[in-house]
Symmetry: C2
Subunit: 324 residues, 2 copies
């Protein structure tokens, strides 16, 4: 596990990280140069990587165990979007010099909780010191039956467009954390913050959508921006109706449906399926116990078309998404 | 490839990084949430991760293509130490806001050169902006026939201890780069700097040592410190003789054999093999066209024992290694 030498690096690995690898023989107890992996017969491996930097991807005063939950959550969300099951992860951590053992202990506890929720294990990593902000990078590895991966490029004219869960909670939560958003019911406020802090990767839904969804992505940049990625990869136009979006109960606080659709960090699945497979979509949603809503239709053309409540097409000058 | 949104992130990926992934179908053109991997039949995957941070692991004014070579080199060196063959890599890059396209172009060119030298491909990654120093993190994936991985824990009492190449070049090179080291022949100086900047992962040697070496590690922390890791994992004592070390021709400039043995960054293979397999070791060295030198013997006990020219055991108070 890495080459760096703070005086107590090996102690930290032995005490906090080796237990996270103990149940996975391929991790070799973090004692070797690399980990060994054997995909189950007939399965492919799915690999993805995402970084989080303090002050960019989460507030600098965020709780260590929430940061761990977010790090695991956003990476597993990428596996969910491919229809994969999680297997394990490698992690690199760049810690500021003043990091405390208590912080590391809380971080490791958050990792342990996420591991247990998702049946994954630490496979290896690297620990370095930095003069810059806390930076975390994770490579998640999953498995999928050969040829069954959901892709971004399969949406076809006439397919329905669907989204899981609710849109806008994380965007509301982030603005509450930044003290920019008074108002709203306390329970809803807490839930919104929670959705921002601890994304729920939709792994069960992703797997249930194998053979049903024609294209799939997870919403990180924002519903509209991620629809744009599906549109580009599939070479189609994605037309959605704002009135159909399953909104956060607090979406009005940030400006309503369009704001929610461009806020990002939802980590819901956004996918398409042929019209004839609508029953299959709903059965998958039921299996995975996640609500799924039809929000539009794939058209010929390019880009994303957003219809307002009156059915008029909106012009978007800024579909993207800025981080915290 | 990642979720971040500098205005031109997608352009940068399309222009500089997608070409690095073009030859590997599993990378899906970097257009999806994750990459797909199918290990060849009978093979395991080997995965490792290492980070580099500007000002910690390389000088801040280092050339972009050299940084790319170093990033790939140190990670492939971990695969070499397991006896694996490289397959591909995922990379996360955290760039300061003032990074230029010229820098990124040079960096991508360095990656392309390393890819071509080692027959590996970019599989995916994440690109984020940071207020801190340039930070790079790479996860390298390799393959190995099932059950053939070299480990750190197989050294046994009586085994010979061997090292590839020369020790101390990188340590000399680093001090030359820091303007701390006058003297020495110009050609040797240039070669030492080159060895620091562009580590040569000993992949061919690692593969040739399968079934021959009883334990193996690559030298990153320093020969003595990495011997310590082998000793700990194998539960033996590693006794080496300083007089036997294959030294950099400029080792005297930094204080001789002991300084070279604790300087680090050599990225040579350090391994053990039963005495009866000495011919096998030399045959592997010949196959891989890398000199290999016997530097000591595995003993019962713990830790590392370093004998000086008179055969006296030295006491080391600081076997470890500090980064740049």
């Amino acid at each position: 596990m890495g080459n760096d030498k703070k005086p107590d690096e090996f102690e930290i690995i032995a005490r906090y990280f080796a237990p996270l690898a103990a149940a996975e023989p391929g991790a070799l107890g973090l004692g070797d140069d690399a980990a060994l992996l054997q995909p189950p017969p007939g399965r492919q491996l799915v690999v993805t990587t995402d970084s989080l930097i303090a002050g960019v991807h989460f507030p600098t005063d965020e709780d260590a165990s929430d940061i761990a939950a977010r790090l695991i959550g956003v990476n597993l969300s990428d596996l969910a979007a491919m229809g994969a099951k999680g297997l394990g992860y490698l992690m690199t951590t760049a810690w500021p010099h003043d990091i405390s053992k208590a912080w590391i202990a809380a971080f490791a506890k958050g990792l342990a909780r996420a591991q247990s929720a998702h049946e994954i294990y630490l496979l290896g990593g690297d620990t370095v010191a930095t003069n810059g902000p806390l930076s975390l990078s994770l490579t998640a590895i999953g498995t999928i039956p050969h040829g069954c991966a959901l892709r971004r490029n399969g949406a076809r004219h006439g397919d329905g467009i669907y989204v899981s869960g609710r849109i806008g909670d994380a965007g509301v939560g982030l603005r509450i954390l930044r003290d920019e958003l008074p108002g709203g019911d306390d329970i809803n406020r807490r839930e919104a913050v929670d959705r921002y802090r601890r994304p729920l990767p939709r792994l069960l839904l992703g797997r249930a959508l194998r053979g049903v969804a024609s294209a799939c992505i997870d919403i990180s940049d924002g519903l509209v921006a991620d629809l744009g990625h599906l549109a580009t990869q599939s070479d189609v136009c994605m037309r959605i109706e704002l009135a159909r979006l399953p909104l956060s109960p607090l979406a009005d606080l940030i400006g309503g449906a369009l704001a929610a659709a461009t806020a990002g960090d939802d980590y819901e699945l956004l996918f398409t399926a042929p019209a004839k497979d609508e029953a299959g979509v709903m059965a998958a949603a039921k299996d995975a116990r996640v609500p799924v809503t039809r929000i539009g239709q794939v058209m010929a053309g390019v880009g994303v078309e957003v219809l307002d409540d009156a059915g008029q097409s909106l012009t978007l000058d800024r579909p993207g998404y800025r981080h915290f």
